[in-house]
Symmetry: C2
Subunit: 368 residues, 2 copies
DNA sequence: GTGAAAGCGCTAACAG
DNA sequence: CTGTTAGCGCTTTCAC
């Protein structure tokens, strides 16, 4: 059906070797031959079969990308960042999503390795103690983690712990003392765990008692009512929420609004990720911004460096590894001040532990 | 380095054929052999090389996906829809983005064909008169368009024209008469053109004069000031905007807000796409919703049908083509009522062409 | 500058 | 049930 290099060769009146050279190293072929080959290719609509080449050269130009989901724009952005650069460099991406499932992570890697991808960029549930990654290293398969922050593996991310700490510090500086953290499944995200540590850091250094993160299922599009109650009812309800990601923050905002809780008057909200859409909300979402696209782009750069260090041409000296450190790279986070954060008003609840009760009390609305 | 089927064969004490069978058709192999092969695979950490198999079988299990960008969640959603189903069926996605560039579309298809993908799902700038697609058909390469709506090609989409008409009708039914449409580059999107036609349909049937779409560069994150002026200044400024997509609508909302134009009091806004995040805005964004994820999923189903019809096993009768029509499939759109739309208040501007001027006038705020 | 030939890793007749 | 063999399409020595 489709023309092969053989067809081109016989049509052009040369051997397949010459055709191959005409394609891959035109300068090593006589102008006459080159022209004839070109013509033959044109006429026969020859399209080189990448599989043949890849089988032979042991390089595919394919990069595996493993992400939890594309429903969270964080990963879509990051993916776009990877694609921008990788496609420029002539690589193609094979995408697999895991839905935060470790089993699917394993399968994805397996599949990609069978496909002989030249490298893998991924965001995993746990970047540290991960046998999958150990295997990759043992087999010296180039890989880079994106978003996972771990010092001991090649990874590109913000310092999640410190970023969270900085964010929660901001809330504290605004007078908030009863601050809760919300997260998706902690088990499914080492980022969330890091962020919770950062939350704890900030709380402790202010002599506040850190609380366990409230885990929220944000695959559904609605906040569970018991969660909502916990946030809004009772004398002890928090005045500020630190949400482990912006999507969650947005969901919470909607839930609060439905419960007639006004943000930021009745509750300050701080997100994490810095999704552009957060600025389009009203009130605009305060968030700890990670440079998601840059994370993808940098992950690519690091992967490429590893791939090139792997090439037979480059001698695998320690210099290469030094030039392109195989260990974590931390990108800078930025706190985006947004209208979802306000200084604490001394409401009845928030003023509970204050001595001066003389100021006019504002009644917090009750949910439900 | 990596073990091959030969290594496994010799380790297990069988021929490579038996190993191959043990892998691909275990039931055709004696239990003893099977066990020995399994053990060998285990010990040698054998990972079958997909390239060899693909070269031989002429099937890769790879699906090309070509999308304009992932920065627009519409496409990220759609991609997730594809991935959900395709990965389930054991296929992998090779992703390429075009940034709405026809040249990149062409290159992407070329690259994917060289990689011998089993089929392609794509969203192109122009689904109708597109030589690329003619080529694909000529070579009987399975493909499906997603989001592009065209009757004459395999495509999955909403009826963009009718959907837009329905949306604009809603605006008209709310009393709006001066309605403008905003779009990204019309040249880069047949969807936008279809939607503009729908806008015109609705305007004409109400005896209103349709206007040319205002093209907005929404790659930048800010609305150009001259565009903004056009929307807000003068006695003739519109009272409602139909935006060709939700991202644009959100950008416009922000621009208007910055100009102290309040939505929907001073301007009603209707988007297109039905991005989930629109419901998290405040006011919640009214939008014509396309089932983006379902579009991706359906595109996959149709592609799979084509691929299977292509298989040597299935006889290529007309029945197959009848069962899985190669032509466009239209999914239902839904208009999401949102708080960005309000009945027209008879402001000074909007009431200009009305005879009854006696009602109290509300002064529209002036931007800048 | 060009061609012959080997072989990348695998599957699929075919023969036994 | 198993082994032998012939390629899939390409690159790449190695001669000439």
């Amino acid at each position: 059906m489709a023309a092969t290099i053989k067809d081109v060769a016989s049509y052009a009146g040369f051997s397949i070797a010459t055709v191959s050279r005409a394609i891959n190293a035109p300068h090593t072929v006589s102008p006459i031959a080159l022209e004839k080959v070109r013509a033959a290719i044109e006429v026969l609509q020859f399209r080189p079969n990448a599989l043949g080449r890849q089988l032979r050269t042991e390089r595919t130009g394919l990069i595996g990308v493993i992400l939890p989901t594309l429903a969270n724009p964080v990963f879509a952005e990051s993916l776009q960042g990877i694609d921008d650069e990788a496609s420029e460099a002539g690589y193609r991406l094979v995408l697999m999503t895991t839905q935060y499932d470790a089993v699917r992570e394993r399968r994805a890697i397996e599949t990609l390795r069978e496909q002989r991808v030249d490298g893998v960029i991924m965001t995993v549930t746990d970047g540290n103690s991960n046998p999958l990654l150990d295997e990759l290293e043992a087999d010296s398969m180039p890989y880079v983690l994106a978003h996972n922050d771990t010092a001991c593996r090649p990874s590109i991310s913000v310092n999640n712990r410190r970023a969270a700490r900085d964010g929660v510090r901001l809330l504290i500086s605004q007078g908030h003392r009863n601050i809760l953290m919300l997260a998706g499944s902690l088990a499914a995200s080492d980022r969330a765990r890091q962020r919770h540590l950062g939350y704890c850091d900030a709380m402790l250094e202010a002599n506040l008692e850190p609380r366990a993160a409230i885990e929220v299922d944000f695959n559904t599009d609605r906040l569970a009512t018991d969660t909502l109650e916990r946030l809004t009812v009772g004398p002890d309800h928090p005045t500020a929420l630190f949400c482990s990601n912006d999507l969650l923050a947005m969901m919470v905002m909607r839930g609060l609004r439905a419960a007639h809780f006004e943000v930021p008057r009745d509750m300050s909200i701080l997100g994490f990720d810095g999704l552009p859409m957060g600025e389009l909300l009203s009130p605009t979402l305060a968030s700890i911004c990670a440079p998601n696209r840059a994370i993808g782009a940098q992950a690519w750069q690091h992967l490429l460096a590893q791939i090139e260090a792997h090439l037979p041409t480059a001698e695998n000296t320690g210099t290469d590894l030094f030039k392109y450190p195989r260990r974590g790279l931390t990108l800078q986070h930025v706190i985006r001040i947004g209208a979802t954060i306000a200084p604490l008003q001394r409401t009845r609840d928030a003023a509970a532990d204050m001595t001066d009760q003389s100021e006019p009390l504002k009644i917090s609305p009750r949910g439900r």
